[in-house]
Symmetry: C2
Subunit: 349 residues, 2 copies
Amino acid sequence: MLATHAFAAQNATSPLGPFNFERRDPGNKDVVIDILYCGVCHSDLHQIRDEWGGSIFPMVPGHEIVGRVTRVGSGVKGFKTGDIAGVGCFVDSCRVCPSCKAGLEQYCEQGMTGTYNSYERDGKTPTYGGYSTQIVVDEAYVLHIPAGLPLEGVAPLLCAGITTYSPLKEWKVGKGHKLGVLGLGGLGHMAVKLGASFGAEVTMLSSSPSKEADAKRLGAHQFALTSDEKGLAKFKNYFDFIIDTVSAPHSLPFYLQLLNRDGTIILVGAPPAPHQLPGFDILLKRRRVAGSLIGGIKETQEMLDYCGKNKIVSDVEVIPIQDINKAYERMLKGDVKYRFVIDIASLKK
Amino acid sequence: MLATHAFAAQNATSPLGPFNFERRDPGNKDVVIDILYCGVCHSDLHQIRDEWGGSIFPMVPGHEIVGRVTRVGSGVKGFKTGDIAGVGCFVDSCRVCPSCKAGLEQYCEQGMTGTYNSYERDGKTPTYGGYSTQIVVDEAYVLHIPAGLPLEGVAPLLCAGITTYSPLKEWKVGKGHKLGVLGLGGLGHMAVKLGASFGAEVTMLSSSPSKEADAKRLGAHQFALTSDEKGLAKFKNYFDFIIDTVSAPHSLPFYLQLLNRDGTIILVGAPPAPHQLPGFDILLKRRRVAGSLIGGIKETQEMLDYCGKNKIVSDVEVIPIQDINKAYERMLKGDVKYRFVIDIASLKK
């Protein structure tokens, strides 16, 4: 067994603190990764505070993992010691259902095995995430990281990147499309970068006037203040797509009005209460509401390769693990541009 | 001016009764149609009772019109005296916006001119519908009725038919798809007929056990009672598409659960209150909610030609206009298989 240092939550109200546990000895198909960076996702906080219910404690969060391969099982073909590798939101799935066979393991009909706050396929061994010194994962669920990118900026691609890349690809968003990005946080800033890179005209829809300059620096062509009713009038029936990254309560009908005929609002965040959906708002313009959840292994690799080629990474603030509880408080206030990433070296001292 | 007999509502609480008015003299591009049959749509009742607001009185309802051409303007090219012609939910639109140019006049950005309860493009001349002896319509908004179909069964195709045909075509529903049809009324029975005709496996989702035999006679391959939780369990994550024809309040999240990954629920009815849409219900399976509103002139003609070729008409109960108020009461109880159609001869006596 592999002795591993980590930070964990012991229950839904405790702050994160040091925690030691053992990773399994690598099996035939397993890759052992010495973790270098792990991104801090808003869902980490939801889960350590048990806001979605069913949390498993102690919990080691983290599903935006980049590290170096230190050992591989004898049957591993795709990785070798020294490779830079990534792990995203899941580390296994049933592998036989139609979704798994289609490379859409995130929709596994038996349920994917989350990188943390989940159980291995045996249904009883808890999984621990990337706020830890190392991880052991079947190579089928490990990603190759393209060379030439700063690794701390790559980590958030494993969740924030693929969560926005996948629906933009699924809906073929690109040249000639007007794309609205709702919310400039971890997901939103990746949606701006990727949407602009795909050739769409990107408009940032934000409630913070202070974010205009930054949105444009990230690639947005326009900025619209969501509290400015007058300014928003020109965006009525305007967008072909809106990607809605906001998990806080907000008015879906308000943003539906900004969609043109045949426009689609893509939800990648899930507010705590159900959205309101007035039938006429989507009937009268043949509008659509779609959901999307991260992405499969194949598409995540495609996204990483695309980002490597196009030099796209996340804008991050690197922190030592000892600052994680403070970082959560700042994240809650939106005080991060645009993703905290833990330098796991701070765990190894 | 053309003296016209009709039945009208004088206000939101009065029953329908006799009403005389004059149609305009036919212009250069106009077709005069002697109305033979007019279908009774649930929206007629919503509008005469002002349930959607903004109703214009006196109101002559009716937008499922079939009749015989009695006169054409000198510039009319597509119709001649004696032709059988149809008029649906609108009789004009701006003709220049992107939606009109795309043949999607129902989404006209200036607003289509409804066949009734609307104003002509002058913004002041009220339009009167098909519960009347004749109508005068620009030929660009008149449909050709294929030969060989019983005309009383054709009338409802102009609204119920195209309302279900259009989204089934838009979403390319056909062979290999599992289609659920929610609600067996005027729209639902057309969705069953058309969905089956397109090659989809059709499942009727109904709250009335008494409708099973009829649903199967109409072409449904399966029947699921929506109140039977146990029986419905086998349809969890099952459908590729559900077409939701129900305008009464009902639980959208309940039916979302029946959609498979990438499944789409298409709303063609709009309940009075907004639907509830929990984000996770569509994120976790990449599901979609779409709306659709009737169809454009080009597609309505395509639908009529398709129905002519495939001998598809609506199942109707023909009534004299004098029975219209009783018919509304029966319609409210769902006591019609599946559309009342007025024999306009009863207005000409």
